[in-house]
């Protein structure tokens, strides 16, 4: 029986080559697009799934809250929590922690800066890191032992075993570290990014301001493993009480203060990545892409539905005949569903090949490392096969049902089945298809335009030819700067605690001139030359000057903050504080809180133009700038565009003078700015690519419909011609028939596309304006593509001899 189905199906495919080609190609492209997106989504959901007892392991994270400032989210937890957890909750099985820092390794004359985890020794057992060389047992018990990844081992000791080799590093004092083990590299979808595991020692961090054992700095990445079956939500519910009971309310020091609160989060290890994506808004984008993938698949399935319905008349006779010889409706249904499932599976095989071919480019665009492990992953294979079957069933559902209920008597006496209202339904399907395609295309257009616009956005500073040299804090700062400026290729040098694109973490409160609630400004400790090097003009007043005593908030000499100091604010800050103009702000003194414990009198001596310090997605925030000799570790160096290499050499030389034996870290400001747009540019590119696919599939369908219609209307056209219609009339008749659904689709797509684009654009402070014109342009383009698709058919039939057309029946 099935053999007979297959034979009929195959011969029918072979007979209607165009139809089969369009159906298979359309489905294959649709499936390939969907699978590509699915692979990416799967990859994102697969992070950190395979650690030892991932399901019972939770990461402890902290949100610090302040009565008068924004919350601060930290991926770590404070030091005392480990002991507290172990003592309080019997359901806690184990806890491990690490401190994330970089480590400079010296090996002969070579120096390597690598990310390291200063970890509790139980970390290896906790996650069961897999050892390639050496032994997990006791690998971290000795403070001089380290464990490194395979990747780092290959980098340090290419072609030889790293086990037992010795490297030198200065953590607190310079000492030798023996490599006690090499572990497998972390997969790309693990949240661990360190290459070295170093046994944690408190001695390394004695006296470092940012590392203390109290409740101020949630720096320890902490992982808690609960006993199987623990009600973790129950534990989470008890955490506020735990903090209430144990967190000291009055801790000395500048970074804490009255009313500060702490919220602890326990995030399942398996959910960690998705949780992060949710925080950054990337999860919505991911889900958006899944929808796009589904829509493309829907377009392809609609093609199939549509063409199959259009061509039912070609097989109606066969069905009627099968019924007269005894086929039941169910058997007919099964026959046609089987047929479309077979077609879908053929498409799936082609789609899998397409995915394999496209994957390298896809990974390139996404900057991802997605693998297509089809044959080593039976679940994926089964899942995709199921997908093929579901797609086949849905694609075949319409015409199979149609055939199942078809009355054979209506077919066998006549010359094939009548169209019976199917035409309108098919047109509705075409409209639906093009609505999706046009809406996608319009959204892609706005995403691309916005990205372009963001690139041309005036950042308020000059990002070109700027090199950022990090880690220059210390008393030599002035000397380094002087040394750099000795080079004729270095034009100017500015200092600050952070640089543009990074944002600032300091939040200062100032009382507006009109009174009322305290206004919050982003604080940035700088050197006096910051505005000069970034070419940020002063709108009023002057920049700060280190030689003016009262301009210095804190110096290495006094070590204390001044009670009254001159500061600079930006124009947004002046507006926020209620000044009518930048000039009006000059000379005004405002009581300002640096923290909730420390207030000072700030006198505004300068107002700078606004400039972007955070992401260009955000609105420019009000800012306050002051001189602080302790916090200006980033040097921004403007170099001579004509002598970039010489300038870079000069920077390297200066570094070697002051930091011999340490790894120099420089970044290009232009690249840092560019990186901000990469995410959006990526979305734009992908969306465009998938949109093109959607259009191609839709046009394939249109082409099929056109060839079918022309065949069916041959007689009508013949009669029209006999009655005097001319070549042009006939062509127009057919073109108009195919323009109608596209025009309706345009009308339907307009509100959808504008809504989606508006939602996406609302995430940008500086955005392009939506207008219907691009949509109309795109629609015209689609219409032209549609015309080109059907024109061949139209002209052919319009030119044909009417007598032949009439005889054809």
């Amino acid at each position: 029986m099935y053999k007979n189905y297959l034979v009929t199906a195959l011969r029918s495919f072979a007979r209607h080559k165009l139809f089969s080609f369009i159906n298979i190609t359309g489905l294959a492209i649709g499936l390939a697009a969907f699978i590509l997106i699915l692979l990416f989504v799967r990859d994102q959901y697969n992070w950190d799934q395979n650690w030892h007892r991932s399901a019972d392991t939770y990461k402890l994270e902290t949100t610090l809250t302040y009565p008068d400032r924004d919350d601060r989210v930290s991926p770590g937890a404070v030091d005392p929590l480990k002991d507290l957890f172990l003592a309080t909750y019997p359901e806690v099985e184990d806890i491990t922690r690490y401190l994330s820092a970089s480590m400079d390794l010296r090996l002969g004359d070579n120096l390597f800066r690598e990310p390291a985890a200063f970890a509790d020794p139980n970390i290896i057992d906790f996650f069961q890191f897999e050892f390639v060389e050496g032994n997990a047992e006791g690998a971290l018990l000795n403070l001089n032992s380290i464990v490194i990844t395979e990747r780092l081992a290959a980098k340090l000791f290419p072609g030889e075993s790293a086990l037992g080799k010795v490297v030198t590093s200065t953590v607190r004092e310079t000492q030798d570290y023996r490599i006690a083990g090499v572990i497998k590299d972390f997969s790309h979808n693990s949240h661990f990014s360190f290459e070295i595991i170093v046994p944690f020692s408190r001695d390394y961090f004695v006296g470092r301001r940012w590392f203390t054992e109290d409740w101020r700095f949630p720096l320890r990445r902490s992982y808690v493993r609960f006993k199987k079956g623990t009600d973790v939500a129950g534990v989470t519910a008890q955490l506020p009480a735990l903090i209430e009971q144990h967190m000291p309310q009055e801790t000395g020091g500048q970074e804490t203060g009255r009313g500060r609160g702490m919220i602890l989060n326990l995030i399942g290890l398996k959910d960690l990545h998705i949780y992060r994506m949710e925080l950054t808004g990337d999860l919505a984008t991911l889900q958006g892409f899944l929808v796009v993938g589904l829509l493309i698949l829907v377009i392809a399935v609609v093609n199939f539905l549509n063409l199959s319905m259009a061509r039912t008349s070609y097989r109606a006779r066969e069905v009627a005949l099968r019924k007269t010889v005894g086929a039941s409706p169910r058997q007919v249904l099964v026959q046609f569903l089987t047929e479309s499932v077979v077609l879908a599976l053929v498409s799936l095989v082609i789609a899998l090949a397409l995915v394999e071919l496209a994957l390298p480019y896809y990974n390139d665009v996404l900057a991802s490392v997605i693998e297509f492990d089809l044959f080593s992953n039976p679940l994926l294979l089964a899942g995709l096969t199921l997908l093929g079957i579901v797609v086949g069933l849905s694609a075949g559902s319409l015409h199979a049902t149609y055939f199942a209920v078809l009355k054979p008597s209506s077919v066998l006496q006549g010359n094939g089945a009548r169209d019976g209202g199917k035409q309108r339904f098919r047109t509705a399907l075409v409209v639906g298809q093009f609505t999706i395609a046009i809406a996608l295309m319009t959204t892609a257009y706005f995403v691309t335009k916005q990205t372009e616009y963001a690139r041309t956005l005036n950042l308020g500073f000059d990002k070109e030819n700027l090199v950022v040299l990090s880690g220059t804090n210390g008393q030599d700062s002035d000397a380094i700067k002087a040394k750099l400026l000795e080079s004729p290729f270095i034009l100017s040098v500015g200092r600050s605690s952070d640089v543009p694109t990074e944002g600032s973490e300091d939040r200062l409160q100032m009382r507006p001139v009109a009174g009322g609630d305290m206004a919050q400004l982003d604080g940035l400790p700088t050197g006096p030359d910051f505005f000069k090097v970034y070419n940020i003009p002063m709108l009023a007043g002057r920049p700060l000057d280190a030689s003016v005593g009262v301009d210095n908030f804190r110096t290495r000499e006094t070590r204390e903050y001044r009670e009254a100091v001159n500061i600079v604010i930006n124009a947004a800050g002046a507006r926020l504080l209620g000044f009518a103009s930048p000039e009006a702000a000059i000379g005004q003194t405002i009581r300002t809180n640096l923290t909730s414990d420390f207030a000072f009198d700030a006198t505004i001596v300068g107002v700078s133009a606004d400039f972007h310090f955070d992401s260009a997605r955000d609105v420019i925030r009000p800012g306050i700038y002051y001189l602080d000799e302790f916090r200006r570790s980033d040097m921004s160096i403007r170099i001579d565009a004509a002598n970039i290499e010489a300038a870079q050499a000069a920077i390297g030389e200066a570094w070697q003078v002051f930091f011999p034996g340490q790894v120099m870290q420089t970044r290009s400001m232009a690249e840092m700015v560019e990186r901000q747009y990469q995410g959006d540019a990526r979305i734009g590119n992908l969306l465009t690519a998938f949109t093109v696919l959607a259009i191609i599939i839709s046009c394939l369908g249109l082409f099929g419909m056109a060839s079918f219609t022309v065949e069916r209307r041959t007689k009508e056209i013949g009669i029209r011609k006999v009655l005097g219609a001319r070549y042009g009339d006939i062509s127009l008749l057919l073109l108009w028939q195919f323009s109608k659904p596209i025009l309706v689709a345009v009308a339907a797509a307009l509100p959808i596309a504008l809504y989606i684009s508006n939602e996406w654009l609302s995430g940008f402070a500086y955005r392009i304006e939506l207008s219907p014109w691009p949509l109309l342009l795109i629609s015209s383009a689609v219409l032209v593509i549609g015309w080109a698709t059907v024109a061949g058919h139209a002209f052919k039939v319009a030119r044909a001899n009417p007598i032949r057309a009439l005889r054809y029946e």
Binding site: V7, E318, V325, S328
Partner: protein, 227 residues
């Protein structure tokens, strides 16, 4: 074999109700050869479709081999049909994608007959209608007469008790028409009940009884003495 009692069929569109059959009473005995005649649109084909269970009557009774089948589901009808009834059409209705042998075999496919036996029976019936040498050909490669012979073979391959022929000679020249009629006659002599719609009085002469339809009514029934 079958009995139609007060059987009617209407077609409804939005505005008009067309009566295709109006209280028809017909009885056909096993082994009969009945011709149905009448002008175009008199309801001949509708009658044949209802007899063949391809269409449902609007009212009335249809007893087929002792069962009143008027209200049966389509699946049940399909089952009765495949056991008992073979069809021959004016336009042959062969499937273009299947060879001669495959077209004939189609009628056995829904009978749960093992492939080997199917092949044997197809070969046998092809011999009988003289089309065996064309077994592997596609319908488009055959003449009209040959195509109709394939259709006849398909109608009888399942040992159906009754054959319904809807103007089987309508698309054939007289020589080929004659050939098909002789084939039907010999099938009838072997015991197959035949109900045939025809326009041709000379072909109706092959039947033992002629039913004349006009505007959905049975007007006359002529019985012919056995020749």
């Amino acid at each position: 074999m079958l009995k139609l009692h007060n059987l009617s069929k209407y077609y409804r569109t939005d505005e008009v109700e067309t009566v295709a059959l109006n209280s028809v009473n017909i009885e056909i005995e096993s082994g009969e050869f009945v011709a149905i005649m009448g002008p175009s649109g008199c309801g001949k084909s509708t009658l044949l479709n209802i007899i063949g269970m391809l269409d449902n009557p609007s009212s009335g009774e249809y007893v087929f081999m002792g069962e009143d089948v008027a209200g049966y589901s389509e699946a049940k009808l399909a089952n009765i049909r495949k056991q008992n009834i073979g069809f021959i059409f004016q336009s042959f209705n062969l499937i273009d994608e299947l060879t001669v042998a495959e077209n004939i075999e189609l009628a056995l496919l829904y009978h749960n007959i093992p492939s080997k036996i199917r092949k044997e029976r197809v070969a046998h019936v092809m011999d009988k209608v003289g089309i065996a040498h064309r077994a592997k050909h596609m319908p488009s490669q055959l003449s009209g007469g040959q195509q109709q012979r394939v259709a006849v073979a398909r109608a009888v391959v399942g040992d159906q008790a009754m054959i319904l022929a809807d103007e089987p000679t309508g698309n054939l020249d007289s020589a080929h028409g004659q050939e098909v009629m002789e084939m039907l006659q010999s099938l009838n002599e072997e015991g197959t009940t035949i109900v045939m719609v025809t326009h041709s009085p000379s072909h109706a002469d092959y039947a033992r009884r002629t039913i004349n339809l006009f505007d959905g009514h049975v007007v006359t029934e002529n019985l012919r003495a056995a020749q």
